[in-house]
C-alpha cells in the first residue's frame, strides 16, 4: 500500500466513467458537478450497502438462479476440485518421500541383517582360525627341533597375517560402506533440497494457480452478474416504454371521451333548464293557491286557538284550586301521619318497657320457683324424716301398747290358768292366736325378689332331699299354690341348663370353681336379669307358664291326668314323692327355648316399678290394726267371762264364809291365848316360894294345868 497505489487506482477508477463530468476537467463548474455526482453515488452506494445488500443479493439469486447461481455453483465446484487436486499434488511429494523412506527402511533393515550375518560369520570363522592358531601354539611348545619350530612359527605367522588381513578387509569393506552411506547422505540431502524446492515450486504454482482461477472465476461471476443486470435493465426499460406508450394512448382516448361527454352534458343541461323553468312556473301558481288556502286555515285556527285558550284558562283555574285543596289535605295527612308515628313510638317504648318488666317478673318468679322447689325439697326431706320418726314413734307406741296388752293378756291368761287349775280343777291349755306372736306393727311382708325365691327354693329342695318328712315351710305360706317347690326347682334347673347362652362368658369362667348350688344360683340370677324377671310374681308366672305350656303341648290325656295330680300335690307334700317321678317329664329340653321366647313376648308388659314402690311406702295398711287390737281385747272369750262372773260370785260367797271363819278362828285364838295366860299365871302362883312357905301348897289343891296342856295339844 505505498502511496502510488491509491493514485493509480484512483486513476483507474476515474478513467472508466469518461462520459460523465470529470474532476480533472479544467472547468470548475464541471468539477463541482463531478464531485457532487460522486458524493451522490457514494451515498447511494453506502445506503444500499447498509440497507439491503443481502436483500438485493437474495432477490437476484432468487430471480435469476438460472445464470448467476449456475455460474457460482460451477465455479465453486471447479475451485473445490482445484484445491483438492492442488493439495493432493503438493502432498504427493510428502507421500512419495514417505514411501521412499519406508522402502529405505526395509532395505536398511535387510542390509543391516545381512551385515550382521556377515559379521557373525566372520567372527565365527575368525574364531575358528584363532582357535586353530592357539592350538598350534601348544603344539609348537612341544616341538624341540628348531627347524620344525621355525616352520611352525612361519606358518603361524602366515595364519595370523591371514587373520589380520581378513579383519582388515572387513574393516575396509565396512568403511567402504560407510563412505557410500556418506555419499548416500549427501545425495539424500540434495534430494531433500530438491524435494523441498519442488514442494515450494508446487506450492507457489498452486497458489498462483488458485489465485488465477479464483480471479477468473470471480470475473466470470461478475460478468455473469453484469450480463444479467444488463438484461434486466434492458427488459425493464422495454417494459417501461411499453407501459408509457400504453399510458399515452389511454390518455388520449380519455381526452376524446371527455370532450364528447362535455358536449352531451351541455345539451342535456339546456334541455333541463327549459324544462325546469316550466315546471317552476306551474309549481309557483300552485303554491300561491296553496298559500291562500293555508291563510284561510290559519284564520280558522286562530279562532279555535282563542277559544281553546279560554277553555284552558278556566281549566287551569279549576286545577289550581284543586291543587290548593290537595295541598291542604296533604298537610293534614302529614300531620296525622306524624301523630300516628308518635303514638307508634310511644307504644313501642311501652312495649319494650313491658317486655323488660315481664322479663324481670319472670326472673323473679323463676327465682321464687327455685326457692320454692328448694323449700319443697327440704319439706320433703323433713317429711321423710318425720315420717321415719313417726314410724319409729308409732312402732314404739305400738310396742308399748302391745307390751301392755300382752302383759294384760298374760295376766289374764295367768288368772285364767289359775282359775282353771286351782279353782276349777280343769287342765288349762293356752290359746294359740296368730296375733299373740306378732310383735311390732302389722306390716305387709316385703315382696321377695325372684332370686331370693329361687334361693329359697333351692335350699329347701336340698333340705328336702335329706329330710323325708318335712313340714310345710313357712315361706310357702304365701306361695301361689299351684306350683310345688320341686316343680319350680326342676323348671329352674332346666332353664339354667338350656339357656346358658344368656349368661356372659366371663361370668361362666368365674362360676367354674363354685359349688353346684351356688353356681346354679348365680346362673339363674344372670338369666333372670337377661329375661327381665324381677319379682316373685314374675318367677311364678314363669314356672306356671312352663307348666302350662307343657300341658298345652302334651297329649291331652296326660295333661288331664297331671293337673289334678299337681293340684293335689300342694296339699300334701309327703305325697309329692310319687309325683316327683312324673315331674322330670315337665317339658322337653328342646322346647325350653320356644317356651322361653313365648314367655318373654308375653311378659313384655309395660313396667313401671317406681310408682308402686313409692305408694307402698306411703300408705300403710291400717285396716288390720283395729282388727288386731280388737282381737287382742277378745283374747278372753265371752263364755269364759261369764264363767268368770259366775265363779266370782261363788268365790265371793266363799270368801265371806272364809272371812267369818277367820274371825272365829281369831276369837278362838284370843281365847286360847287368854287361857294360856291364865294358865301361866296360875303356874306362876303355884311355883312361887310363898307356896312352899305356905304349909299347904295350892297345887295339891287341884290338877288343872295338866288338863290344859293336853287341850292346847289337840
Amino acid at each position: 500500500m505505498n502511496p502510488p497505489g491509491p493514485l493509480e487506482k484512483e486513476d483507474e477508477h476515474l478513467s472508466t466513467p469518461i462520459l460523465g463530468p470529470s474532476v480533472h476537467s479544467d472547468n470548475p463548474q464541471e468539477r463541482i458537478q463531478a464531485r457532487r455526482l460522486r458524493i451522490a453515488a457514494r451515498l447511494e452506494a453506502r445506503r444500499r450497502e447498509a440497507l439491503g445488500e443481502c436483500l438485493d443479493g437474495k432477490k437476484e439469486s432468487e430471480e435469476d438462479q438460472s445464470k448467476s447461481y449456475k455460474q457460482k455453483e460451477e465455479s465453486r465446484l471447479k475451485l473445490a476440485k482445484l484445491l483438492l487436486c492442488g493439495t493432493e499434488l503438493v502432498t504427493n511429494i510428502q507421500v512419495a518421500t514417505d514411501i521412499r523412506e519406508i522402502q529405505r527402511r526395509v532395505e536398511e533393515e535387510e542390509i543391516k541383517r545381512q551385515r550382521l550375518e556377515k559379521l557373525e560369520n566372520e567372527v565365527k570363522t575368525s574364531q575358528d582360525k584363532f582357535d586353530e592358531i592357539t592350538a598350534k601354539w601348544e603344539e609348537g611348545k612341544q616341538k624341540k627341533i628348531a627347524q620344525d619350530l621355525w616352520d611352525m612359527l612361519n606358518t603361524q605367522q602366515l595364519h595370523c597375517a591371514g587373520l589380520i588381513e581378513d579383519k582388515n578387509k572387513l574393516i575396509s569393506e565396512l568403511q567402504q560402506e560407510l563412505k557410500t552411506k556418506d555419499d548416500q547422505y549427501v545425495k539424500d540431502l540434495k534430494k531433500q533440497a530438491d524435494d523441498i524446492c519442488l514442494l515450494l515450486e508446487r506450492m507457489e504454482e498452486q497458489v498462483k494457480n488458485v489465485m488465477k482461477t479464483f480471479r477468473q472465476e470471480l470475473s466470470h461471476i461478475e460478468k455473469a452478474y453484469e450480463v444479467e443486470r444488463q438484461e434486466l435493465l434492458s427488459s425493464n426499460k422495454k417494459k417501461w416504454e411499453r407501459a408509457l406508450q400504453a399510458h399515452n394512448t389511454k390518455e388520449l382516448e380519455y381526452l376524446v371521451n371527455r370532450i364528447k361527454k362535455v358536449e352531451e352534458y351541455e345539451k342535456q343541461l339546456s334541455k333541463q333548464r327549459i324544462w325546469d323553468c316550466e315546471e317552476y312556473n306551474t309549481i309557483k301558481i300552485k303554491l300561491e293557491q296553496d298559500v291562500q288556502i293555508l291563510e284561510q286555515q290559519l284564520q280558522q285556527m286562530k279562532a279555535t286557538y282563542q277559544l281553546n285558550q279560554e277553555k284552558l284558562e278556566y281549566n287551569f283555574q279549576v286545577l289550581k284550586k284543586r291543587d290548593e285543596e290537595s295541598t291542604v289535605i296533604k298537610s293534614q295527612q302529614k300531620r296525622k301521619i306524624n301523630r300516628l308515628h308518635d303514638i307508634l313510638n310511644n307504644l313501642r317504648s311501652r312495649y319494650t318497657k313491658q317486655i323488660k318488666q315481664f322479663q324481670e317478673e319472670n326472673q323473679s318468679l323463676t327465682l321464687d320457683y327455685k326457692r320454692l322447689v328448694m323449700q319443697f325439697k327440704e319439706l320433703q326431706r323433713a317429711m321423710r324424716h318425720f315420717a321415719l320418726i313417726d314410724e319409729e314413734k308409732f312402732r314404739e307406741i305400738w310396742l308399748m301398747n302391745e307390751e301392755e296388752a300382752k302383759d294384760l293378756i298374760g295376766r289374764a291368761f295367768d288368772v285364767d290358768r289359775i282359775i282353771h287349775t286351782h279353782h276349777l280343777g280343769l287342765p288349762w291349755t293356752a290359746p294359740d292366736f296368730w296375733f299373740l306372736k306378732n310383735i311390732g306393727p302389722i306390716s305387709q311382708q316385703p315382696r321377695k325378689s325372684a332370686t331370693e325365691i329361687v334361693e329359697e327354693v333351692l335350699m329347701q329342695t336340698e333340705e328336702e332331699g335329706s329330710e323325708e318328712t318335712m313340714s310345710e315351710p313357712e315361706s310357702y305360706l304365701d306361695l301361689p299354690k299351684q306350683v310345688s317347690a320341686k316343680t319350680t326347682r326342676k323348671v329352674l334347673m332346666l332353664l339354667c341348663d338350656e339357656s346358658g347362652f344368656l349368661i356372659e362368658s366371663k361370668l361362666l369362667s368365674l362360676l367354674l370353681p363354685l359349688e353346684k348350688s351356688e353356681c346354679y344360683l348365680l346362673r339363674l340370677d344372670a338369666i333372670f336379669s337377661a329375661l327381665g324377671i324381677e319379682s316373685e310374681d314374675d318367677l311364678y308366672k314363669l314356672v306356671n307358664f312352663f307348666v302350662k305350656y307343657r300341658a298345652h303341648h302334651l297329649p291331652s290325656g296326660q295333661s288331664v291326668e297331671k293337673l289334678p295330680v299337681e293340684a293335689g300335690k300342694k296339699k300334701n307334700l309327703s305325697e309329692g314323692k310319687q309325683e316327683v317321678q312324673s315331674s322330670p317329664r315337665l317339658i322337653h329340653p328342646n322346647d325350653v327355648l320356644k317356651a322361653l321366647e313365648a314367655f318373654v313376648m308375653g311378659l313384655n308388659k309395660p313396667r313401671d316399678p317406681r310408682t308402686p314402690l313409692k305408694k307402698r311406702k306411703e300408705v300403710r295398711d291400717d285396716s288390720k290394726d283395729s282388727e288386731y287390737w280388737k282381737a287382742l281385747t277378745m283374747v278372753i272369750p265371752p263364755a269364759k267371762q261369764n264363767l268368770w262372773d259366775a265363779l266370782y260370785t261363788a268365790l265371793e260367797k266363799y270368801h265371806l264364809i272364809l272371812t267369818e271363819r277367820a274371825k272365829l278362828l281369831l276369837e278362838n285364838d284370843s281365847l286360847e291365848q287368854q287361857n294360856t295366860e291364865l294358865q301361866m299365871l296360875l303356874q306362876q302362883y303355884l311355883d312361887s316360894k310363898i307356896n312352899s312357905e305356905l304349909q299347904v301348897p295350892p297345887t295339891q289343891v287341884f290338877r288343872v294345868p295338866t288338863k290344859e296342856g293336853s287341850a292346847s295339844k289337840g
Binding site: G5, E10, R38, R76, L79, D98, I99, Y185
Partner: protein
C-alpha cells in the same frame, strides 16, 4: 486530524474526496490508509510547498483532495509538542496523559527501535508493534493470535533462545526480558537449541536462523534450561521445542541432536509446573522410550494439556504404552506420534486406551510400523470409540486384514471425518472392501489411499463417495446459517 480541517476551505469536499481515495482502493485500505500518509503529515508545509512549486493549479485541486492539507505555514503548537514528545520518548515517555487523538499521533510517529524497557508495558497500540515486527521479520500475524505485540515478543524471545549458547551467553539476557514479555508471550516455538560446545562465530553475526555450526570437538553437555523462563510466563500455552540444530548440512554430528537425560528431567519438571500449557511439541529430538516415559509421566493428570506432539523421535512400544496411559489420565485431544518406532504391541496398547476414550480427536501414527496386528486392534477400538475424527495411519505396513476391519468400522462409525492410509499395502481386495464400507458411510470427508496398491477404479469410486459426503456436510453447515453467507464468502475468501 479532522479537527485541523475545520478552518479550511471547502471542508465538505475535502472529506468525501479523502474517503473516495480509500474507496477506490480495496476494502482493507481504509484501515491502513493513515500509514502511508503519515510521513507527509509530519511536515505539511514542505509538502505543500513542493507541490506549489510544481503546479499551482494542480496544487489547488490536490489540496481539495488532501485531508491533511493546511494553509498554516507554522505548525500548530500541539503538533510541535507531539513532535517533541516523540523525539524524547526514550527518556521521557509521556503517553497516557495525552488526549486520545494525540496519543494516536505520537504512536504513529514513534520509532520502532526504542528500547523494550520503555515500550513493552506502556504501549498497547497494535500499529506500533506492527511496525516493529515488519521492521525485523516477514510477518504472519495470524500464527500469533492476530496480536502484533504478542508476535513481537514471541519472535523476539524465540530469537534469543535460538541464539543462546549455554556457558557463553549470559542467561540474564533472557531473564531480563522476562518481566517485559511475561504478559504477552503465549507460545515458545524454538526449532533449535544450540550446543554449549558450539563455537562462537556462527551466531553472533547472523540474525537469521541459518547458523552454520562448524566444528564440534567436545561432547555436549546440556542445553538451555527453560525452567525459570517458563515459570515466569503466566500465559504460556504452547511449547514447541526441537533439541537439535537447524541446517547443519554436511557438518552433521550426532552430538548436535542429543537430548540428554538432564535436559529431559528438567523439561519434565518445567512442563509439570506449567499449568496453563495446552500444547506441547517436542519433535526431531531423538527422544527414546525412557525419555518419553519421563516426559509423559510428568504430564499425567495435567490440568490443561490438549495436544501432545512427539513426532520424529525414537519412541518405541514402551513409550507408546506410557502415551496410552496418558490418554486415560488427561484431556488430550491431539496425539502425534508420527515417524517413531511404534510396532504392533504399542498400537494395541493405544487401541486399548482409545476404545473408551472420549477426548482424543486426532491420532497420528504416520511412518511407524504397527502392521496388521496393530491396525486391527485400532480398528476394533474405533468400533466403540465415539470421539476420534482424524486418524493417520500412513506408512504402517498395513494390508488387507486391516482394510477389512476398517471397512466394518466405516459402516458403523459416524464420527470419523478423515482417515489416511497412504503408503500401505492395502491391495486390490482391500480397496474393494473399503469401497463397500464407504458406501454405508455418510460422514467421512477425507480418505487418503495414495500409493497403497488400491485399484484405481475403487479409489475413484471412494473419491465420489467422499465428494457426496462433503456436499452433504456443506449442506448441513449451510442450513442453519444464513443463506447468503456461503455465496459471498465462497469466492471472496480465497481471493483476499
Amino acid at each position: 486530524m479532522q479537527d485541523n480541517l475545520t478552518p479550511q476551505l471547502m471542508p465538505a469536499f475535502s472529506r468525501p474526496s479523502d474517503t473516495a481515495q480509500d474507496q477506490s482502493t480495496t476494502g482493507k485500505a481504509t484501515s491502513t490508509a493513515p500509514q502511508p500518509v503519515n510521513p507527509t503529515v509530519l511536515i505539511p508545509p514542505i509538502k505543500s510547498k513542493g507541490l506549489n512549486a510544481s503546479n499551482v493549479r494542480r496544487m489547488r485541486r490536490i489540496i481539495a483532495e488532501d485531508a491533511e492539507w493546511s494553509l498554516a505555514i507554522v505548525p500548530l503548537l500541539s503538533e510541535l509538542c507531539i513532535q517533541h514528545i516523540v523525539k524524547n520518548f526514550q527518556n521521557n515517555p509521556v503517553l497516557k496523559q495525552l488526549l486520545p487523538e494525540h496519543q494516536q499521533k505520537v504512536l504513529d510517529h514513534l520509532s520502532p527501535d526504542l528500547p523494550l524497557t520503555v515500550t513493552a508495558n506502556l504501549i498497547e497500540d497494535e500499529n506500533y508493534w506492527r511496525r516493529c515486527c515488519a521492521q525485523r521479520w516477514v510477518c504472519h500475524v495470524a500464527r500469533h493470535g492476530g496480536s502484533w505485540k504478542r508476535m513481537f515478543f514471541e519472535r523476539h524471545l524465540e530469537n534469543l533462545l535460538k541464539q543462546f549458547i549455554p556457558g557463553t551467553t549470559d542467561p540474564t539476557v533472557i531473564l531480563d526480558l522476562l518481566p517485559l514479555c511475561k504478559n504477552y508471550v503465549r507460545r515458545i516455538q524454538v526449532d533449535q537449541f544450540l550446543h554449549p560446545s558450539v563455537s562462537a562465530p556462527p551466531r553472533d553475526g547472523d540474525q537469521s536462523d541459518s547458523g552454520s555450526e562448524g566444528e564440534m570437538e567436545e561432547y555436549s553437555t546440556d542445553h538451555y534450561q527453560l525452567r525459570d523462563l517458563v515459570a515466569g510466563l503466566k500465559h504460556l500455552e504452547e511449547l514447541d521445542l526441537v533439541y537439535g540444530v537447524k541446517d547443519c548440512g554436511m557438518n552433521f554430528e550426532w552430538n548436535l541432536f542429543l537430548f540428554t537425560y538432564h535436559d529431559c528431567h528438567s523439561l519434565a519438571a518445567t512442563i509439570k509446573a506449567c499449568h496453563t500449557l495446552k500444547v506441547f511439541r517436542l519433535t526431531r529430538s531423538r527422544v527414546d522410550d525412557d525419555k518419553a516415559r519421563i516426559l509423559i509421566r510428568s504430564l499425567l493428570d495435567h490440568p490443561a494439556l490438549e495436544e501432545l506432539d512427539l513426532s520424529h523421535n525414537l519412541i518405541g512400544d514402551r513409550g507408546v504404552r506410557a502415551a496410552a496411559k496418558l490418554l486415560s489420565h488427561s484431556r488430550l485431544r491431539v496425539l502425534n506420534l508420527a515417524n517413531n518406532q511404534v510396532r504392533a504391541p504399542g498400537a494395541q496398547s493405544l487401541a486399548h486406551a482409545l476404545a473408551h476414550n472420549t477426548n482424543l480427536v486426532t491420532l497420528n501414527l504416520r511412518l511407524n510400523c504397527i502392521e496388521d496386528e496393530g491396525g486391527q486392534a485400532l480398528a476394533h477400538a474405533l468400533q466403540t470409540n465415539k470421539c476420534l475424527t482424524t486418524l493417520h495411519l500412513g506408512g504402517n505396513e498395513l494390508s488387507e486384514p486391516t482394510a477389512t476391519l476398517l471397512s466394518q468400522v466405516l459402516s458403523v462409525n459416524t464420527v470419523l471425518t478423515s482417515i489416511n492410509l497412504s503408503c500401505n499395502h492395502i491391495g486390490l481386495d482391500g480397496g474393494k472392501q473399503l469401497l463397500e464400507g464407504m458406501s454405508d458411510n455418510k460422514t467421512l470427508l477425507e480418505f487418503d489411499l495414495r500409493l497403497s496398491d488400491v485399484a484405481q477404479e475403487s479409489e475413484y469410486l471412494i473419491g465420489q463417495a467422499l465428494q457426496a459426503n462433503r456436499e452433504a456436510a456443506r449442506q448441513r453447515a449451510l442450513n442453519p446459517s444464513h443463506f447468503m453467507s456461503p455465496t459471498t464468502n465462497g469466492p471472496e475468501n480465497p481471493a483476499g
